[in-house]
Symmetry: C2
């Protein structure tokens, strides 16, 4: 099967991916919320068109380079959901001349640097850390929220849009109730900050959120204006563990050649390592780390993950599949030269590494390939 | 400083890297061992020339594609140190027509598949798992070593070279004595297998090893014929933790723009995430995970890692630097728009992600960029 696959290759199920997109777009419509999906997961102009077919016209990216790529493919309303990197002011100015660009600011210092160097107006979202502890003005005070809001309100180049957060802490939750609790807390904290700013005369502020767990598991997203989920386009093993999706929703697996079989220790070595899958890891029940689940490939796609079978370690190019004694039998017939599918722990990072999708129909779908890192 | 650096960028100290190469080449000469360095760490034709200047003429790669890249840059004696992937037979045959190619086999099944499809003779090393538990014929029996050796001895296309191992288990060792113990055990096991094969009439077998910890920390490598270390060209935080090198040996750091400063929680957010550094992680003393150490950059290079300062988490593009209370003062003056250096946990994976080096003199050095993953 798949003789054309000779190296680790992302096999993409277009039907599932389009269904994931349509389902989330419909949910956003039902919530009367602007759907601004995060394109950092797929990073593909062609998959972007599947979003356009679902009515999407505004997008999110995680870098200025990614925004430039999608601007070059006809997207003209882009939020770079990352604290503005003032060193990229040249590229920011080129982009802002061409599209409606929104940036994230979380400090007066960054806002002042941008103001002094921006050549064109941009939208500005105040990033709020609503409890995830990564970036943003702390929800519970500290930082310079009032000074920042006042500066933005008086700026002609940075047009204040509202408050934006990424509730990365839903990723530590397991199950709908736990995710709902984090989401409610997140939105309540954003609303409280917005109310406080309103009392200080800052009016018309929108709220933007967008983690895949909350967007997937909750029907009612609450009083928000914009949603920016990204991972849901493919989902992955982490989202399955959280409860955001089931295996039948996952949009791609990595087809990996089998290069060694060790029945004596119930292990199989794959051509498929850290440079293909990423070293993101998921702790399984029982505490054993997993670098991916294993699925059988068949002519029309792939099956559900084999229970009791997991990728136990990754080197640069090797992946070692382990199985419990009860779980070995379905693998007993696997031979050198066969292919096994790996359902990734974190689809965003795996896609970023492999740089190309192949659909079940054999179509090759390209992605952003970054130019040089320097200057 | 470095206004030309606007995104995460590998800053490479050519003097250190050339010194690392020369030191290891000299050690191989002193041991009268063939030096066949692993080029998977740097993946750069230009850095390959620095090895050539140190007298190197035979190399190791971790993939067939990487071998083809270096073959295209004048290397004509290449071992692909990965269990032969029979699905790549087309590319293997093209390579074997052009260069002296060596492959790893660890099973009769793989050897038979190769024999039936090879168009040109290649060298064949029997890979031995001498205790690391990844790939290879188990050192302690099991597998089909005798049948494999007999098959190779009778093959006209697969020319048996000897026994090869990668002692990945030295990476769990800490300090010279612990590394020496693993190395001695590894070499003893290889020798025992070679003796056993000699008793069965398989003569003239060489031994090949090559982990960076043993090659760096031990002056006497023992009774071996070939050494294939790779990581030593750059070293990294993991090698520092093992004891293979000191900070002043590390060949590159990643210059990362500062995008947010949070003195209230003693944290700094960098533009520098999992897609730049990889999610490889090192457990620090005390059990806290680190995704990198932090170094100050200066005009001539960079300083030693700041004690008590570490990269505590990585998202796709964000890196969060944390510091203990005593360690914050040197960071107190850091501002949005500054650069900080990150000394990587695992330089091979970081280099593979960033795809380009910039020397302290401002020269850009390119690397292998793979074509499409599929077909």
């Amino acid at each position: 099967m798949h003789p054309e696959i000779v190296r680790p290759t992302m096999l993409l199920d277009e039907t599932r991916v389009r269904a994931n997109i349509e389902r989330m777009a419909a949910k956003a419509r039902a919530n009367r919320v602007r759907f601004r999906p995060h394109f950092k997961t797929h990073q593909s102009a062609q998959i972007g068109e599947w979003f356009r077919a679902a009515g999407v016209s505004a997008i999110t990216t995680s870098s200025v380079q990614m925004a430039a790529y999608f601007a070059g493919h006809g997207w003209d309303d882009i939020t770079v959901a990352f604290p503005a990197n003032v060193r990229e002011i040249g590229e920011i100015n080129r982009l802002a001349a061409a599209v409606r660009l929104n940036l994230l600011v979380e400090s007066l210092a960054a806002a002042q640097l941008l103001e002094s160097q921006l050549a064109h107006p941009v939208g500005a979202w105040i990033e709020v850390d609503a409890g995830s502890g990564r970036s943003g003005v702390p929800w519970n005070g500290g930082g310079d929220l009032h000074a920042l809001a006042a500066f933005l309100a008086g700026s002609s180049k940075l047009r204040l849009q509202g408050l934006l957060t990424h509730a990365g802490n839903t990723y530590a939750a397991r199950g709908r109730d736990a995710v709902a609790a984090v989401h409610d807390e997140t939105i309540t904290r954003l609303q409280r900050l917005r109310n406080w700013l309103m009392e200080h005369g800052f009016l018309g502020l929108e709220l933007s959120f967008g983690d895949t767990p909350a967007c997937s598991m909750l029907d009612n997203w609450g009083d928000v204006d914009e949603a920016r989920p990204g991972n849901f386009v493919f989902y992955d093993l982490t989202q399955m563990a959280i409860g955001s999706c089931i295996a039948a929703d996952v949009g791609f697996v990595v087809a990996c050649p089998v290069v060694a079989v060790h029945p004596e220790r119930r292990e199989i070595v794959l051509y498929g390592g850290a440079v293909h899958l990423s070293k993101d890891v998921l702790l399984q029940a029982g505490g054993l780390p997993s670098y991916g689940a294993v699925v059988p490939l068949h002519a029309g796609g792939w099956g559900d993950p084999l229970p009791g079978v997991w990728l136990r370690s990754l080197s640069q190019e090797h992946g070692v599949v382990a199985a419990t004694a009860e779980s070995w039998p379905p693998l007993a017939g696997v031979q050198v030269g066969d292919l096994l599918g790996v359902l990734p722990v974190h689809s965003c990072l795996t896609a970023d590494l492999l740089k190309e999708y192949v659909t079940l129909g054999g179509e090759h779908i390209s992605m952003l390939r970054l130019p040089t890192g320097g200057g």
